[in-house]
Subunit: 132 residues, 4 copies
């Protein structure tokens, strides 16, 4: 987290997100990553909700998450977002979760997003192009 | 929200919490209310997660939610928490959600909590007594 | 559950719905109730998702849930749904959750639904009228 | 889905799992995959919840999900589960979601699970060994 140019969002683990094992359930990380990604996009004037109403859908085609350590109740963490254009139609978002208190790396995600139109086909002129 | 003595937590609606209707799904309000309540308790050194490990369970016996207006994607809001002891064994938490931008009242919840021990019976000496 | 005329849906508690206390988190009951209600409506040819696309919104105005006993991982349960017209604009759904194995009553919900149009005002001719 | 030896679980998409785009939110697929995986384990007498209480934690180390097509409200689907031992300490679960009506492949997941003890270290004798 030395690079201060990287977008980062502060969040905290909520009690109801923890499961029987006493740690945040895996699927909630995906919610965290999505929320940070959408905040990043909003910061660049790309609004997921508004686009959906216009028939422009940012669809996740693939996600890979590596879980390094477990978030627990009340843990505060930061999620970074770095976009990378990997083909004409695909954008990959590299994201990391760091425990705010210990600076430990908790999880890494790579999410590939494709922009789809009302005809369910990839759009060549994606709003995501503005990121690059 | 004129009474500055009332505990209040700032939150924001996440895109994934919105449903087909484009507004935050009802059940998520219950998550919001729970999270604010647990933060309020933590502020008073009552830790839901730690208590659960000790075999002391803060159980919701009843919840009533009135939905006044719909939260939408990106809406910022504040949740207040006011505890009231309603019987020897029951504590009721009165909570309200206000839209931060418009100050509009969005929802009201009354949640009745009972403290249960490992034998599944109400505890007479609840950690919640410290609130009064 | 002697009255076989009452609509009832079979469901089971999923591990990820259980929280630190090892029981199903309160807010998930609201998801269960909603899912059973929507299945009941679908059974009567009222499709929440299709209506939303047409600008007809079935909105929860109020919900009251009494938690009688805790659902645990793998518990199978049945949710009943009984509609009642409580005013020209409001329908109340009475719902109960029974543990399938023990027949114990686990929770009771009363949900008041109002039908809203695109102008955010109650619709006088609600699709819900077909239930009565 | 010709191989009838492969474990498979029937599920259906719930309205509240659909987001603003009108399709099931990505993170819910992870819940679906987890639920099917835990049912598969239970079928082999491996109980995630019971193990957690014994201090034996089945932890997801990595997950990869490919989204092929979108599940919509009311869609019924089947999730398959195939375990593979990929190292002394790691088990990978290959899972696929098929739309029940169309037989279309909707999503593929590879989930790597490690068994952890109370000391937060991998257990050499994992209950998962019984699968092979």
């Amino acid at each position: 987290m030395t690079n201060t140019n990287i977008f980062s969002l502060k969040m905290d683990a909520r009690d109801h997100e923890c499961d029987i094992q006493g740690v945040v359930n895996n699927a909630h990380y995906q919610h965290y990553f999505e929320h940070a990604r959408h905040r990043f996009l909003l910061h660049h004037n790309i609004d997921f909700a508004v686009l959906a109403k216009q028939g422009i859908y940012l669809m996740v085609a693939k996600i890979e998450i590596e879980y390094k350590a477990s978030l627990k109740a009340h843990d505060q963490f930061q999620i970074t977002v770095e976009p990378e254009k990997i083909s004409r139609l695909k954008v990959c978002f590299l994201q990391k979760i760091y425990n705010t208190q210990t600076q430990a790396l908790m999880a890494i995600a790579k999410t590939t997003v494709v922009t789809i139109g009302n005809d369910n086909k990839p759009l060549r002129n994606s709003p995501l192009d503005a990121l690059f």
